[in-house]
C-alpha cells in the first residue's frame, strides 16, 4: 500500500494551518483488527495527514474489501 503512484501530485497540498509542506512519513492505517504502516504525506508541525483520492478509492478500498471478507 505504500507505492509511490498513489501519492502522485501530493506535493501540491500543504498544511493550511501550519503553512508548511508535507513530508512523507510512515503512518499506521487500520481496519477490522488489522493495521499496516503506510507512507503518507504528513505535516511535520501538527501531524495532519493527507490521504489522496487515488489511494482511498484504489488500494485502500481493495484492502477494506479483503479484510471485510476475511
Amino acid at each position: 500500500m505504500s507505492k509511490k503512484p498513489d501519492l502522485e501530485g501530493a506535493e501540491k497540498w500543504q498544511c493550511a494551518r501550519c503553512d508548511r509542506p508535507m513530508e512523507i512519513r510512515k503512518v499506521s492505517v487500520s481496519y477490522m483488527d488489522s493495521s499496516f504502516p503506510v507512507d503518507l504525506p504528513v505535516c511535520p508541525e501538527c501531524g495532519q495527514v493527507y490521504v489522496p483520492e487515488m489511494l482511498a478509492l484504489g488500494k485502500m478500498a481493495e484492502v477494506e474489501k479483503t479484510l471485510e471478507d476475511k
Partner: protein, 780 residues
C-alpha cells in the same frame, strides 16, 4: 461458530439446520437440475443419451460411441434391436417427434464402432465361481459384468449358439455377423469367462452345490418367488431373473446387470439392498420447459437397415433440446450471473458460512440476491434462493462476519427515516380516534412528498372514522440486511405506536411495507392504497389523454398481492390508459434491484437487472412503487408512477424525470414532516438546526453525480467543512487555492475539496474510506 437454531419462521422454505451437512443435503436434493434427463432415467441401463446426442450434434461420433458403449455391453446389437423406452419419455415428443435415439446409436456404431476395442481386462481373480444358466442377453450381461469383477464365470447354454431370442429377430433387422461380433469382442474375449454350449441344465438351483452363486437368467424354476430388487430366490446364493412378459432386449440387459450387482455383493458378503433405488427405468424429477422451442419432425430414415448418414444423424441429434431445468436461472439475472444453479449455490453458501479462517468469497453473492422470491415462484419444487440468502445473512450477522460496509448506507437511511426528522404517528387534527392509519413509507415520502400530502388530504376526506398519519420506515432494509435485532426493534416501536392510536387499519402505499407487516405483524389489519383508492375514488378526476398504452411493472413485493395488482390496473384503465402486460408480471414479476439491497452489494449487477427489465417492452412503463419508478427512469426508461397518472402528470416529462438523489431524499422527508405539521396540524416546528446543517453548499451537477455514486450525503460534506473551518485543520492546494479537509463522524472518513465563496462553500470533490488513519495531531 455461533450455534444456529434461528429460522425465518414465516417462510414456507424453512431450513432449521442449514448449518449442518444433513440440512445442506436436504436442501441440495430439492434442486432438480442435476437429475437425469427423461431418456436416461427411462432407459433400464441409463444410457446418457443427452450427452451422446450432444456429441453426435457436434459431429464427434467416436465420443458418442464411447458414451453409448460405456453403458451397453453389446452396442451393435442394441443399436439394432433396442425397444427404446427412452423415446416414449423424450421431451422432444411434446413438440414434434421424439428423437430417433436407436437409429442414432446405429449411426454411431456404423461410423465409429469398427475402431479396435481395448482388450477386456478383468480385476485379479478373486477365487469364487459363478454359474450362469442361459446365454441370452441377460445371462451374458451378468456373466460379462461378473467376470470383469474378477469372479470365475461359467455360462451354461442349452443351444449350440449364444444369443437366445436374438436369433428370432429378422436377419435384415439384425444381421447375424453383428451378434457374433459383439459377443466375440466381449463375452468370448474375457479371461475367466467360460461358455459351455449345448449344456442344458436340468436342475439349475442344484448348481449351487458346486458354485458359490448361480444366476438363472431363464427365470425362476418351480414357481419360486424372486425378489424383484435383488433377484434373490428362496435358496441362498441362487438368483433368478424376475419374470418379464414382453421381450425387451434392453430390459434383459438391465436384468442381467441387476443380478450381477447382487451376486457381486453376495460374494463379498455386503448388503444386497443398500442404495439400489435408481436401478432400472424410473421417472425422473427433472423438469424441462418446452416453451419457446419450435416443433420439429424427425429426420426421415429412408432405409431403416442402412440407417442415417453422418449428416442426417447430426441433423437428427441436433433436434435434442438437452433437457434441463434452470427455470429460476432463466428469469433471474443474479442467478444467471454466477453460472450455476441453486444446488451448487446452496453448497457455496454453506461453505462460505463454515469458513473459520480464510477469505469468504461468497459474501457478495449472498448479499446480491434481491430476496424477491421469483425463483421459488417458477421452481417446480419451490426452491427459494431468497429465503436461503436471507437466512445466510442472518447467520453472517450472528457470526459477526457481515461486511460492515455493505448495508451501512441503507441502514443509515433507515435510521434517518425512523429518527426525529421524519418519524411521527398521530391522529388527524381535531380527532382522537383513527379508523385508518396512512403509512406512505420512507421511499414514497422521499421521492414524491407532495403526493403524500395530497393523498393524506384525500383520504381524510374520503374515509369515515378518522385517518391518522404515520411517517417512518417499516424496517425492510434491516430485514434484508439480516439485522434481526434492528428489525425487531423497529417493528416493536411501530407496534407500540399503532396500539397507542387504537390499532387502526393500515393504509399502505408501498408493497414492501405491506409484505413486512403481513409477514411480521399478521394481526395488524391493512389495505393497499391502490385497492383503497380504487374503492373510494381518486382525488382528482383529471381528463387524461386516452388510448395511450403503458406496460405495468408490478413491484416484486406485490408478487402475491392480487388485490393491489388489480386495484392498480383498474385505476390505470379508469384514467383512460390501455395496459400491456409484461412477459413477467404479477406473481412472476421481477425486482427493480432495490430488493434485498442488491445494489449496495453489487452495483454492476443491479444495473444489469434494471437493464433487462426495462427492455422487456418498448412501451413506457407504469408502476406503483417509488423506487422501481426512480430506478427505471434513472437508466433511461420512461416510467410513470401511478400517482403521476392520478395527479394528472401523464406527460413525457414526468415519465422521464429523474428521482431525487440520496441527500435530497433525506431533505424531502424532513421537509414533508415539517410542512405537514405546520399545514395540517398548525404546529410550527422550526427545530434548532445543528451547527453544520446551516452550512450552504454549491455543488456542481457533475460533482453531485459523483457524490451520489460514492454514497456521500450533503450532511457528510457539511460536517467536514464545519470541522475544518472550526479547527483550521485543512490542506491547501497552492495551485488552485482550494482546501481539502477530512472528518470521521463514525465509521467512515470523508474528504472534501472546497473553497469558501461568500456565504457558501463551493464543493469540487469528495471521497471517503473506511480505514482509520492514525493521525497523531498536535492541536494546541
Amino acid at each position: 461458530m455461533t450455534p444456529l437454531t434461528s429460522t425465518y419462521q414465516s417462510d414456507a422454505f424453512v431450513m432449521t439446520n442449514f448449518i449442518d451437512q444433513k440440512g445442506l443435503r436436504a436442501l441440495e436434493a430439492r434442486c432438480i437440475q442435476e437429475q437425469a434427463p427423461p431418456c436416461q432415467a427411462g432407459c433400464p441401463v441409463h444410457v446418457d443419451a443427452r450427452a451422446m446426442l450432444a456429441q453426435i450434434g457436434a459431429g464427434d461420433f467416436a465420443a458418442a460411441y464411447q458414451t453409448f458403449s460405456k453403458t451397453v455391453p453389446f452396442p451393435a446389437i442394441i443399436s439394432r434391436v433396442c425397444d427404446q423406452p427412452c423415446r416414449a419419455v423424450c421431451t422432444r415428443g411434446e413438440i414434434g417427434d421424439p428423437i430417433a435415439i436407436r437409429a442414432l446409436e446405429q449411426a454411431c456404431v456404423a461410423l465409429a464402432g469398427d475402431a479396435p476395442r481395448a482388450p477386456v481386462k478383468p480385476l485379479p481373480a478373486r477365487g469364487k465361481r459363478v454359474a450362469v444358466v442361459g446365454g441370452g442377453l441377460s445371462g451374458l450381461t451378468a456373466a460379462f459384468d461378473l467376470a470383469r469383477k474378477g469372479w470365475a464365470v461359467v455360462v451354461f447354454e442349452a443351444a449350440q449358439r449364444l444369443g437366445g431370442r436374438l436369433w428370432e429377430v429378422a436377419e435384415d433387422a439384425l444381421p447375424r455377423h453383428i451378434i457374433e461380433r459383439d459377443f466375440a469382442a466381449t463375452v468370448l474375449a474375457t479371461p475367466g469367462l467360460e461358455v459351455r454350449l449345448g449344456a442344458a441344465v436340468e436342475d439349475a438351483p442344484a448348481l449351487r452345490d458346486s458354485f458359490d452363486a448361480v444366476y438363472i437368467s431363464t427365470g425362476a424354476v418351480r414357481g419360486d418367488a424372486v425378489d424383484p430388487l435383488t433377484c434373490e430366490t428362496a435358496r441362498a446364493g441362487v438368483f433368478a431373473r424376475a419374470g418379464s412378459e414382453a421381450w425387451s432386449p434392453i430390459t434383459s440387459i438391465a436384468d442381467g446387470r441387476r443380478a450381477a450387482i447382487s451376486i457381486d455383493r453376495c460374494l463379498q458378503n455386503v448388503s444386497l439392498t443398500a442404495s439400489r433405488q435408481h436401478e432400472g427405468a424410473y421417472t425422473t424429477t427433472l423438469y424441462t420447459s418446452t416453451e419457446g422451442i419450435a416443433p420439429a419432425r424427425a429426420v426421415p430414415l429412408p432405409d431403416a437397415r442402412a440407417g442415417y448418414s453422418r449428416d442426417q444423424a447430426t441433423e437428427e441429434a441436433r433436434r435434442c433440446i438437452h433437457c434441463e431445468c434452470l427455470e429460476c436461472v432463466k428469469v433471474c439475472e443474479y442467478l444467471a450471473r454466477y453460472d450455476g444453479y441453486p444446488k451448487q449455490y446452496a453448497r457455496t453458501i454453506y461453505n462460505n458460512l463454515s469458513i473459520v479462517m480464510g477469505e469468504r468469497h461468497a459474501n457478495t453473492f449472498i448479499n446480491s440476491c434481491a430476496l424477491c422470491g421469483l425463483c421459488a415462484e417458477v421452481c417446480p419444487t419451490d426452491f427459494d434462493m431468497g429465503a436461503l440468502c436471507r437466512q445466510a445473512r442472518q447467520v453472517m450477522v450472528a457470526q459477526g462476519r457481515m461486511p460492515p460496509s455493505t448495508h451501512e448506507f441503507a441502514l443509515r437511511d433507515m435510521a434517518f427515516s425512523n429518527g426525529d426528522q421524519f418519524a411521527m404517528a398521530r391522529h388527524a387534527p381535531g380527532t382522537d380516534a383513527s379508523a385508518y392509519l396512512f403509512f406512505p413509507g420512507c421511499q414514497l415520502a422521499a421521492s414524491r412528498p407532495g403526493d403524500v400530502k395530497a393523498l393524506y388530504a384525500h383520504l381524510r376526506e374520503a374515509l369515515e372514522g378518522g385517518v391518522g398519519l404515520a411517517l417512518g420506515c417499516c424496517g425492510a432494509p434491516a430485514e434484508w440486511a439480516g439485522r434481526k435485532d434492528l428489525f425487531e426493534e423497529t417493528m416493536e416501536r411501530f407496534r407500540a405506536q399503532h396500539a397507542a392510536l387504537g390499532r387502526p387499519k393500515l393504509a399502505l402505499a408501498c408493497s414492501s411495507c405491506c409484505q413486512v407487516f403481513k409477514t411480521h405483524a399478521p394481526d395488524i389489519e391493512l389495505i393497499s392504497l391502490w385497492d383503497l383508492l380504487d374503492r373510494v375514488g381518486l382525488p382528482v378526476q383529471a381528463a387524461q389523454p386516452a388510448s395511450r398504452t403503458l406496460a405495468v411493472h408490478d413491484p416484486c413485493t406485490a408478487r402475491y398481492e392480487r388485490a393491489m395488482q388489480d386495484g392498480a390496473r383498474r385505476i390505470i384503465r379508469r384514467l383512460g390508459y390501455r395496459i400491456e402486460e409484461l412477459p413477467l408480471s404479477r406473481e412472476k414479476t421481477t425486482c427493480c434491484s432495490y430488493g434485498g439491497l442488491m445494489g449496495f452489494a453489487d452495483r454492476e449487477l443491479a444495473r444489469a437487472v434494471i437493464e433487462r427489465r426495462i427492455n422487456e417492452s418498448r412501451a413506457d412503463y407504469v408502476t406503483y412503487c417509488a423506487v422501481c419508478r426512480d430506478f427505471f427512469a434513472a437508466q433511461g426508461k420512461p416510467t410513470f408512477h401511478l400517482l403521476d397518472l392520478i395527479f394528472g402528470r401523464g406527460d413525457d416529462a414526468a415519465a422521464a424525470g429523474r428521482g431525487p438523489g440520496y441527500s435530497q431524499r433525506h431533505e424531502n422527508r424532513a421537509r414533508l414532516k415539517r410542512e405537514m405539521l405546520r399545514e395540517v396540524w398548525g404546529e410550527d416546528v422550526t427545530t434548532a438546526q445543528e451547527g453544520y446543517e446551516s452550512i450552504k453548499l454549491d455543488v456542481a451537477e457533475a460533482v453531485q453525480a459523483r457524490l451520489e455514486d460514492r454514497l456521500i450525503l450533503v450532511e457528510d460534506i457539511q460536517q467536514v467543512i464545519a470541522f475544518a473551518e472550526r479547527t483550521g485543520r485543512r490542506l491547501l492546494n497552492t495551485d488552485t487555492g482550494r482546501f481539502l479537509a477530512h472528518y470521521r463522524p463514525a465509521a467512515v472518513t470523508y474528504w472534501v475539496e472546497y473553497r469558501p465563496e461568500g456565504d457558501h462553500y463551493a464543493v469540487f470533490n469528495a471521497y471517503s474510506h473506511r480505514m482509520e488513519v492514525a493521525e497523531e495531531t498536535k492541536d494546541e
